[in-house]
């Protein structure tokens, strides 16, 4: 039977068991939208801006581990999607973005709504395709899903000219993909794993540093087993939160620019470091030369060889899927007659407990003015630590990461790599669609929320019971903080003037709006909001304008040059 290209797109998505397609129609994808109208295999979610479609698909992927799918039209639809694609690329999120293109004969003619999507997205995709023949369409989409989800995951763009969606051919969906040019290594080298384990067991001051790779690689359970069995301290990156229970005593909290004193000091002073699915980025280890002023042996497990020895030279590289390598390591450990050096470990823990005793995340809990940290702590309590929490980018993001203790993976959704303001609300949408009965909270700022505020309309259309936790300090807080520290209080363009009345704004979309301006009202308001299980609630918390994020490792400094709130 002959199918049109548009029908083939739909059939491919059915074959991939896609549940949701986040998109926005337009000229070049009208044939595809007509085919969507006539199917019920997946649900199409109409957003209000293409950027939000891609972010929502990204969040669906982050919170489920499945490939997210977005559909946009050519030209401006495609360019609007680029920020979302780049965001997913930096955080290695599996996603397929289908973009319409002008008909093949019009390509290169500066046609209406034409842009070179393959060219524009090349630096921010794992791979992309322009489909030039309807016969290649099904196999290309199959490849796109395979590439997106395998190895180090990432977004893949498939650009489909309008005439291709009208041409017909026989539909055949390949069962599997064979590519001579793409074969990610999944199994770690057994010799290297042995070497790593020997080093780990001989350590006097061991440290385990884990990143987003643990979450993306579904390795949280194995990591937890390994960490508990060894009894070693561990830390998470911003992307790795939830990869190990944050409430466990072996977890030293997040590390890096706004990480805890204990995590950063242990990174600096350890003698053997096991890095798992993390990439030693600039926000994590600060200045690399300072990091190497104290010497340590480094073991690095990563599925992407190019992440190894990129910023930091490592001693034992292990290329492979984190889950597979950790499983092998655990097996070797159970067979080994060696055990960790108990007395050295006890001394190491004593040192760590000294740092921990400084209580670097303390703040004024008795303040009448709402402290942003307090709101996040109460959010954690009210949601029993089980919510899907999305954030935007800035101070509120760091507070959410520091004070919401994630015990499970895939619960914390934020733009770690690209740092995209505006992801919070669309991320919450993607997470709520994927988990309709779960509590979803979007911790945001008054700057970030306005970058995709139009999605309040999408939330209304689909009755999404998201809770927006706006930490409103009337400043672009992180910009203001840097201006305070490094630009002698010259607050250039960081004050957010002319804010809307967020309560009325939310109400105008049919949502519930609340404004909270007293500390004593915070807990009650949160309870009230989360009790409204079927309503979208927009909570505008008027917070302390001058609060800063601590601890802080200033840009370009070393981890042990960390500044605590009490130092100032």
């Amino acid at each position: 039977m002959q199918l049109t290209g548009a029908e083939i797109v739909i059939r491919c998505l059915h074959e991939e068991k896609v549940e949701f397609v986040f998109g926005y129609p337009g000229g070049a994808v009208l044939n595809i939208y007509d085919a969507i109208f006539q199917q019920d295999g997946f649900k199409h979610i109409l957003v209000r801006h293409e950027q939000a479609a891609v972010h929502a698909a990204d969040a669906y992927a982050r919170s489920t581990g499945k490939v997210g799918v977005a559909l946009v039209t050519s030209g401006p639809g495609a360019t609007n999607a680029v920020t979302g694609i780049a965001t997913a690329y930096m955080d290695s999120i599996p996603m397929v973005v289908l973009s319409g293109q002008v008909p093949t004969p019009a390509i290169g003619q500066d046609a209406f709504q034409e842009c070179d999507m393959v060219g524009i997205t090349r630096p921010c995709v794992k791979h992309n395709f322009l489909v030039k023949d309807v016969k290649d369409l099904a196999s290309t989409i199959k490849k796109a899903f395979y590439i997106a989800a395998s190895g180090r995951p990432g977004p893949v763009v498939v650009d489909i000219p309008k005439d291709i969606t009208a041409h017909t051919t026989k539909f055949e969906y390949p069962d599997s993909v064979q590519m001579r040019s793409y074969n990610p290594v999944l199994k770690g080298h057994s010799g290297q794993i042995k070497k790593a384990l020997k080093l780990l067991l001989e350590a006097k001051r061991p440290m385990i540093y884990t990143g987003g790779g643990v979450v993306l690689g579904d390795a949280a359970e194995l990591l937890t087993k390994l960490v508990r069995k060894l009894g070693y301290p561990m830390t998470n990156t911003l992307m790795g939160l939830g990869g190990y229970p944050a409430t466990d005593k072996q977890c030293l909290g997040m590390l890096g620019m706004h990480g805890t004193l204990e995590a950063n000091m242990a990174m600096q002073e350890c003698d053997v470091l096991l890095a798992v699915g993390a990439r030693f980025d600039d926000r994590v280890i600060g200045n690399p030369s300072h990091f190497f002023e104290s010497s340590r042996k480094i073991i690095h497990i990563d599925v992407d060889p190019s992440s190894i020895s990129k910023r930091v030279k490592v001693d034992v590289p292990i290329v492979g899927d984190v889950r597979s390598v950790l499983a092998d390591m655990l097996e070797l450990l159970s067979e080994s007659d060696k055990t960790p050096n108990e007395s050295a470990l006890a001394a190491w823990w004593q040192k760590i407990d000294g740092w921990r005793g400084r209580n670097c995340l303390s703040y004024d809990r008795n303040s009448a003015i709402i402290k942003p940290q307090y709101v996040v702590e109460k959010l954690w309590e009210v949601t029993k630590g089980e919510a899907y929490v999305t954030s935007d980018v800035g101070q509120h993001q760091m507070w959410a990461a520091q004070y919401y203790k994630f015990d499970q993976p895939r619960r914390w959704l934020n733009s770690g790599g690209l740092g995209t303001m505006g992801v919070g609300l669309p991320y919450a949408m993607g997470a709520q669609f994927a988990h309709p009965n779960a509590q979803v909270a979007c911790v945001t700022g008054e700057g970030s929320i306005q970058m995709n505020i139009q999605e309040l309309s999408t939330c209304k259309q689909y009755h999404l019971p998201i809770k927006v936790i706006l930490l409103n300090n009337r400043y672009l807080g992180m910009v203001r903080q840097w201006q305070e520290f490094f630009y002698e209080n010259r607050y250039s363009e960081s004050y957010m003037d002319s804010l809307p009345d967020f309560v009325k704004l939310a109400e105008s979309y049919g949502h519930v709006g609340m404004q909270i301006d007293k500390s004593s009202d915070v807990e009650g308001a949160l309870k009230e909001a989360f009790a409204m299980k079927d309503r979208f609630v927009f909570m505008d918390f008027i917070t302390d304008q001058k609060e800063n994020v601590f601890p802080m490792v200033p840009n370009g400094k070393g981890l042990s040059e960390i500044i605590l709130a009490e130092d100032l």
Binding site: V118, G119, R122, P123, K126, H127, L130, I147, M179, R180, S181, Y182, D304, P305, S306, S309, K310, K313
Partner: protein, 163 residues
């Protein structure tokens, strides 16, 4: 250090721009880049001349391998290899110059492939440094035009880059 990297990639539209884009996006040096299909029409072979510290070269190789279209990558500098580049150079060939240019071309084992009243076009092959040496050796003011292909490289003996 200067490195010559050979790679095989799928002969598909846009493949070249993925490699060129990678070098510009990550601020790697690129001295020359040549590409042409191989005896297997589905594969292109590319030779890239670049320079950088050992760490940078290691990253370049890894990043090239990461491109989905790239099938195989070989750093020729990891072993013994041959390097050849073709240059066409048009020089003034009048008066005393005419005999001198012929002689220099012979010394460098060049061939004169076009003769006009006032000029010769000389074809030269060799390593990049040999071509440089020729341009150094002749009178600069006699050079009218040069065109170089960029280096191609191949491993010696049984070092073979093939799928």
């Amino acid at each position: 250090m200067r490195h010559i990297i050979s790679l095989l990639m799928e002969n598909e539209a846009g493949a070249l721009s993925r490699v060129a884009g990678l070098f510009s996006a990550r601020a790697y040096n690129i001295e020359s880049l040549t590409v042409a299909p191989t005896e297997d029409a589905t594969l292109s072979r590319m030779t890239i001349v670049t320079s950088g510290s050992d760490e940078i070269i290691e990253q370049i190789i890894k990043q090239l391998n990461k491109l989905v279209d790239v099938v195989k990558v070989l750093d020729l500098n990891d072993g013994r290899f041959l390097e050849r580049e073709l240059m066409l150079v048009k020089v003034k060939a009048t008066g005393a110059h005419r005999e001198e240019m012929k002689r220099m071309s012979d010394i460098f084992r060049g061939r004169i492939i076009d003769v006009a009243d006032g000029s010769y076009t000389i074809e030269l092959t060799g390593s990049g440094s040999k071509l440089d040496a020729f341009l150094e050796a002749i009178d600069k003011s006699a050079i009218l035009e040069t065109v170089r292909t960029g280096a191609s490289g191949i491993g010696r003996g049984d070092r073979i880059l093939k799928v």
